[in-house]
Symmetry: C2
Subunit: 430 residues, 2 copies
């Protein structure tokens, strides 16, 4: 339940998509790593908050207690700590596993690919962070998925907002997860969850509401830097200062047009410590980004400076920032688009079918196809001793093979092959 087989047509599209993502990661100088799909259960504990219940555990068959990885970020942090690596730019494309309620129609499965790019190391502020946003921008542009928006926020700004609104620190995380629902429900509902379920005072909730409904660009950052309350909060000031720097770098990259500083963005995971971001596709009902409707997140990420330290015996920190491309959701969109267009995706790359119009030419076909393979040419033949020519040509048409190399009695005598263009039916002897 919640998993699926990928037939050849899926795989052809998927390979195309992954190739575009990998090309971008390589363009940015990332190296590939891989880690086991199995991790020690203890490695995964205490990293995912309430989602711990979604982790697949293996049966205790003797030996270590194992679980299937839940994402690629925790294994990456474990890998860095275990190998004492303090500096690395890597990508990792692999399957992860979640015992979630699958919503397969929206491209959500229990087994799915993640495509992660992360930069680990102590660097000058916001330079790697800006590159992560550039990568999201490049990939979503390359894939021509339509208009998109990258929302950016910072956990320090959010925590600063909570602090100046009088929320006790012990309620930061739970308040954060309520704020995160603002993309799915109106403020009134979020407010009543804060007051009703989370126990915030109505006044505190209203004060939060004034902040978290804001979104904009450099102008908003400047305004908040002047905000009498927020500017007094150390965390918020730091976050806003870095946000300003980020926008400077994004301006140099020429991509601020698709970036929105959005105080409602909170993101679910516990381990984020700084910049957070999420890319959404916009339905193009009109030209105004503000009025367009979001069709869901297709990329996300952020800074997590504390995670590696959790795996180091001495708690040594390695600051990290990274991005995860939501390949499954993108795949669902592309799949629907291919289906709608009626485009026939070829599932093989065969260039030529070795065929014969006569009986008793199996040996000649085997000899010819062997020569083609040895010359690096992608070639097939029907596995019949004496197939009908019509069947052979039909196979070409069905599978999109452009050429047929035909060998019969006359060709064998003349020492030639008849090469036929399947579509135009033109033939040349060679």
């Amino acid at each position: 339940q919640g998993t699926r087989d990928h037939p050849p047509a899926h795989m052809a599209l998927r390979d195309r998509l992954l190739a575009a993502v990998v090309a971008c990661f390589k363009r940015h100088g990332a190296a590939a790593i891989d880690t086991p799909a199995l991790e020690l259960q203890e490695t995964l504990m205490g990293k995912y908050g309430e989602d711990v219940k979604l982790i697949y555990k293996l049966q205790d068959q003797g030996g270590e207690l194992l679980a299937l990885r839940y994402d690629l970020t925790v294994p990456f942090a474990r890998y860095l700590a275990m190998n004492k690596i303090t500096n690395m730019k890597r990508y990792h494309i692999a399957k992860v596993y979640r015992r979630d309620n699958p919503a397969t129609t929206r491209g959500r499965y229990r087994e799915f690919y993640q495509c992660d790019f992360d930069i680990a190391g102590q660097f000058d502020p916001m330079i790697p962070d800006a590159e992560c946003l550039k990568i999201v921008h490049e990939i979503l542009s390359d894939l021509q998925l339509g208009d998109f928006l990258i929302k950016v926020n910072d956990r320090r700004i959010l925590n600063g907002v909570f602090a100046v609104c009088g929320i006790p620190e012990s309620k930061f995380i739970t308040t954060c997860s309520t704020v995160d629902k603002l993309d799915k429900m109106p403020w009134e509902e979020v407010r009543s969850e804060m007051v009703g379920e989370k126990g915030l005072s109505p006044e505190a909730a209203d004060r939060i509401g004034e902040y978290v409904q804001l979104h904009g660009g450099l102008d908003l950052i400047e305004r908040l830097l002047q905000d009498p309350k927020l500017s007094q909060n150390k965390l918020a000031k730091e976050g806003l200062g870095d946000m300003k720097l980020l926008f400077e770098y994004l301006t140099l990259f020429g991509i601020t047009g698709k970036i929105s500083f959005d105080l409602s963005l909170a993101r679910g995971l516990d381990y984020y410590t700084g910049v957070i971001f999420e890319a959404v596709l916009l339905q193009q009902e009109n030209d105004h980004v503000e009025e367009a409707v979001s069709v869901g997140s297709v990329a996300g990420g952020g800074r997590y400076d504390g995670l590696v330290g959790m795996f180091d015996p001495k708690g040594r920190k390695v600051p990290c920032v990274g991005v995860s491309i939501g390949i499954e959701r993108i795949f669902s969109i592309l799949e629907q688009r291919v289906k709608a267009s009626g485009e026939k995706v070829r599932t093989t790359e065969t260039q030529v079918l070795v065929a014969t119009p006569q009986k008793h030419f199996l040996a000649a076909r085997l000899k010819l196809i062997s020569e083609l393979w040895d010359a690096g040419i992608k070639a097939e033949m029907l596995y019949k001793k004496d197939p009908k020519l019509l069947k052979q040509l039909q196979y070409c048409e069905d599978t999109g093979i452009p050429l047929a190399a035909i060998v019969g009695e006359q060709e064998l005598i003349d020492g030639v092959v008849k090469l036929r263009d399947v579509t135009t039916r033109e033939e040349v002897r060679m």
Copy 2:
């Protein structure tokens, strides 16, 4: 235990290796599929004989009882039956899981890649079987692993041998698994296992010994076809007839030089029903294949005509033949070779480092690198505001980046970039 992280140097080599294998599979017209790493436990039961104990089971957390796949062949058969596919040529490259005693020094792990190519469908005899052997030949030749030998046998011939030697059918499988040890122990030991543990009569064991120590080519097939006892056995006769046909096709492919019809080859798995084969690398101590020492199996496969039917509600059979490339063992060999040669494997593909010799040029660098990325050029920069030029050039040398694009005060004034060849130190302004 028994798993490993793959650092960038591994991945670079692994990607090269997998690319060669995939290229060969595509050359033969195969389409890719993927299946979940998780299968229902019941799907895997009764397919692997005694090895069932090596299957990783998942904890019962509610819902279906799951296990990690043990190979790619059973999931392929399940996929064909589930989708009622009677005809398919596919490859599948993915990780499989075995709770084995790992022998990591010999490239044996609990999580490892399998690279499978299979042809499913009802065809004329031995044409797809011959193609599988051609594929093994192509891949091992392409990878330049040194001299190799592909041993071929047929389960029908083995069973025929057992029958004419007076073994009861109930002991065929267990006798088969003892014969399979002939590549690791001398005949005397195999014989005493047959008599001691498996309860065969000494005479029957000796009769088997006369057959299973034979290996050769077309001549041996012809001789056995004339063998007074074996030629009377229906199964053996069928198997030998097909073996002769196979050798004819392999002769047309020009690869019989590396093929040995070897009656000691039995292969462990229960599900084989016809041709079986296994490729071994030979240590090149001298030029005689016969006297060389085997360093282990690097590919194997065979025909399994009954497996798909086990998953079909009506038991409808789909004949299959396939090959699995032992990518992990090949990887171990290549890795040792790279280590011995001192060759430095690049782990990234970065073409140019955007650098500066002066302070306060971060903005210029960000602008330039963004242009390069947008032009599809693989580019990196150091994530420092003001890095030293020496450090930047050192980074190029350490990671093998061939070019540095240098922007400083003069370049900015002139509107140019200085492109430096890191190795020759030549510079051009452009």
